[in-house]
Amino acid sequence: MSETREETPFVITVSDDGLSCEVGVRAGFDPESTGQALCLGALREHGVKINEEVETRVGALINLHALDKGTEHRLLVAAGRPPEHGEDGWLELEPGFDPEKRDGGCGMTDSADQVLTRGDNPPAGCAVDHHARSAFAVAKAGEKIGVLHRPRPGEDGWSVTGETLPAKQGKPCNLNTDDSVVVHDNGMVVAAMSGVVQIDGRKIRVLQELGIHGSVDFHTGNVDFPGDVVVDKGVKDCFVVKAKRDISIRGLVEAATVHAGRDLHLLGGAACREKGTLFADRDLYARYLNECVCTTGRKLSVDKEVINAHVAVGAEMVSPGCTIIGGTTFVTGRCEVAELGSERNIPTVVTLGAQRDAENLSTRADELLGLIGEKLGKVQAEHDQYQRNAAKLTPTQAETMTELQFEIGSFSRLQETLSSAVSELSRVVGTVATIDLTIHKQLWRGVTILLDKWEATIEESIKGPIRIHCEPGKKPVLTDLTSNSTVELSTVARVRSRIEEPSADEAIAA
């Protein structure tokens, strides 16, 4: 602050920041008619810029002093304006993607309709399904991630001496993105592809591979991801891991559900205690499978063993080092394993050349066709009755007959559609179905092999390497791959037809 007290009757004080100037008039000074001009001159000497407002205030000060000359009077006569600094551009993330706002979301167990999504806080007192909480911010393609706000410019100020007080200008927030993120002209930041959103300062990416560095457990919650998933450790009980593409799990899968839209790699194996489900739309590789339900759309490959598991393989199972003990195994295509069954003769069922789901569908379709045929017969009979009296129908009967005609048409169409679907299903299964089983080491007693219309029960263990195969319509045979000799399977196992023979009465009726 600068202040002048000597020589002049005025005490002029300019603040250090130059934003205000105060004038004091000494006691005893007689302003007379020149007082205002003297004061303005003194202010000019101090560099204060004189304008109309300053002149008015100085005039007011002098007038005041003229009324009471014996007292020192002070007044603020000039004021500047401080600079208004600008604001830097910034990124406002949606709550679900903001690491500071995200709590991982939770699912409420008391009502399926009230599942909270990412970033929502559960209402007080609600039951929380901690399995359903997710630690990952997953965006769908086109989903808004946030808004990029433009910088706000600053406005310069000025001092009482007329000097410009420069303002800081807001700087733009330059995002570091790649093709996975789009920033629109209006500042909207949108995911260009589905995946996990990775935000590191100003760097934003949507990754199509979700890497989980530990296990899938309460730290991560369930995983439902639109790309690939790699889990460094295992999957704990009751958790669900779903991915639209491949899943690779390096540790143990416990009693959990794992569903891969493409391939599933279980490098650590699965021990599900009869409560876990594994599903791969394409191929599945596992170190071992214990007590699980496992379905693959195409190939299955297992290094060590499949124990008490229920397995359905859409194409072939080529696992020359694998032992299958207990459970049920459906293989549509070729099957190659080290051992089938165990020394303790644990019941083990292997179905070859069959597609479990297709068989179930086919059975259900047959049942439906039967029901439709039955219903159609009844409707047709009722219709025929009306038809015979067509000339004497009452209005109500005429309406009923219309309804019956419509039902006949509907049932006939349904019957036709279902029959053609069943034929197509059989044709598709037939194109991949093969009965070809190679056992490298041992086929143990207690194993049942279902192949085509035959059921073979192994009553004495057979040493490998052997191959069991069956041409359509023929009896199954066994080839000793060491001697290359082939015998009918019935010579080494109890083989019986799976199709019930007609009774004598039925045969006669036929």
Binding site: Y386, A390, L393, T394, P395, A398, E399, T400, M401, T402, E403, Q405, F406, G409, S410
Partner: protein, 123 residues
């Protein structure tokens, strides 16, 4: 094309709706009698009507006569059990464009609808 079905039997309306859906018509409104139909035509503005004759509150013939006072050209098909020649003539005089007698098959209804629409388009 907007089609209004006027019939007191829900089953009959379902049958007609199913035939129309198979023919590719999806904008279909339903009314359970003549009065209900009159209350709906303002907002729905149908381009074809399938009308039953015998209905409670307002029968099909009264509805057709009332409707024709304001809508001269919208095609109407009478779907009914009335088979007497005099009744058919009465309906046609009231402004009905075509006639389907119950019992009818889905194919017959579909044929009548096509015929009526072709004639209406040519007029």
């Amino acid at each position: 094309m907007k089609i209004l079905l006027v019939d007191d039997s829900k089953t009959m309306r379902n049958i007609q709706k199913s035939v129309l859906t198979q023919l590719g018509y999806t904008e279909i409104e339903e009314a359970c009698d003549g009065q209900d139909a009159l209350s709906k035509i303002g907002a729905f503005q149908p381009e074809l009507l399938l009308v039953d004759w015998n209905m409670p509150n307002m029968d099909g013939l009264t509805f057709v006569k009332t409707y024709r006072q304001t809508h001269k050209s919208t095609p109407i098909i009478m779907v009914t059990t009335e088979t007497e020649r005099s009744r058919v003539v009465e309906a046609i005089k009231a402004g009905v464009n075509n006639y389907v007698v119950k019992p009818f098959t889905p194919d017959l209804l579909s044929q009548r609808i096509n015929e009526t629409l072709e004639k209406a388009a040519a007029a």
